[in-house]
């Protein structure tokens, strides 16, 4: 028994056109196994997303950056760049919406005793950090939680704030004898 396979006739010009479209997809939208995906570039890293509506915080998370230290900027080729707030939603289906960069902020957020505070990035004293929560270095120790458990900071030690630092305060106790 002979089986005959019938192949569909394909117009050559149509094939070329289809190939061209396949190699030049929409700037930020393409299909992957029937599912629509959306491309974004954050700090020159490319990400394929399922959802075209994303927040600034979600975009920053892609490059492991947090709003307490970095700001997100949307880059437009023919217009001024725009800051995107952490909770602001971006619609990736709109044209020219796929490029973002993160920049270090001048005013950053730190946490002291569980409370967030905005401070200028740069050097601060222990007394200044304690002052944010109304405490002073005579009665309180300042501790920083950084890659491990909280560690005490000597009162004379300048603290370089870059954003996202987590501090704790502790009432002074004990003494030399």
């Amino acid at each position: 028994m002979v089986t005959t396979l019938t192949l569909p006739k394909v117009n050559k010009m149509e094939t070329q056109q289809n190939n061209q479209e396949a190699s030049e997809p929409n700037n930020h939208e393409f299909a992957d196994h029937g599912r629509k995906r959306f491309i974004v570039l954050v700090d020159d890293d490319r990400f394929d997303l399922d959802n075209p509506i994303v927040t600034g915080r979600e975009l920053m998370k892609l490059v492991h950056k947090r709003p307490c230290r970095y700001a997100l900027v949307q880059v437009f080729p023919y217009a001024d760049d725009q800051f995107v707030e952490p909770d602001e939603k971006v619609d990736l289906t709109r044209p020219e919406t796929d490029r973002f960069v993160t920049v270090q902020k001048e005013t950053v957020v730190i946490t002291v005793g569980g409370e967030p505070f905005e401070v200028k990035a740069g050097h601060h004293s222990v007394a200044q950090i304690l002052g944010l929560v109304g405490e002073n270095a005579d009665a309180y120790d300042l501790l920083e939680e950084k890659d491990g458990p909280p560690m005490p900071i000597p009162p004379s030690q300048p603290i370089h704030i870059e954003g996202c630092e987590v501090f704790h305060t502790q009432v002074k106790s004990g003494g030399s004898s």
Binding site: L143, S173, S176
Partner: protein, 115 residues
Amino acid sequence: MNYPLEQVEELKTYCSKLLYFEEAGYPYFRMVGLRLPPGCSPAEIEALFCPVDRGDGYPSRLFFPEQVSTPYQRNWHVNVRLGERNWVAYSWKVALANRSLADGLLELLISLTRP
């Protein structure tokens, strides 16, 4: 001596390796790679943490193989031999009782940073 597992786990976060031994009936946590506060040198060192009064009137002690450089001068007056090694310690009384192991250690680390 038996210490709650969660307290021992918390203590582990301060060092790269935690060992335990007893000598003369007193407990010692040997902390390899103990992180010291900023301003201290070296940044990491081996230490022995004894969380009880060894009969010298100090509720806890932190022993080092040698004096560490601290932002403020400490009174390094203790020289002892423990676990067949020589150790030194500074004078500091932790005031609060009934603390966890980590809280007790932290208090001794804080003391290295006090004026």
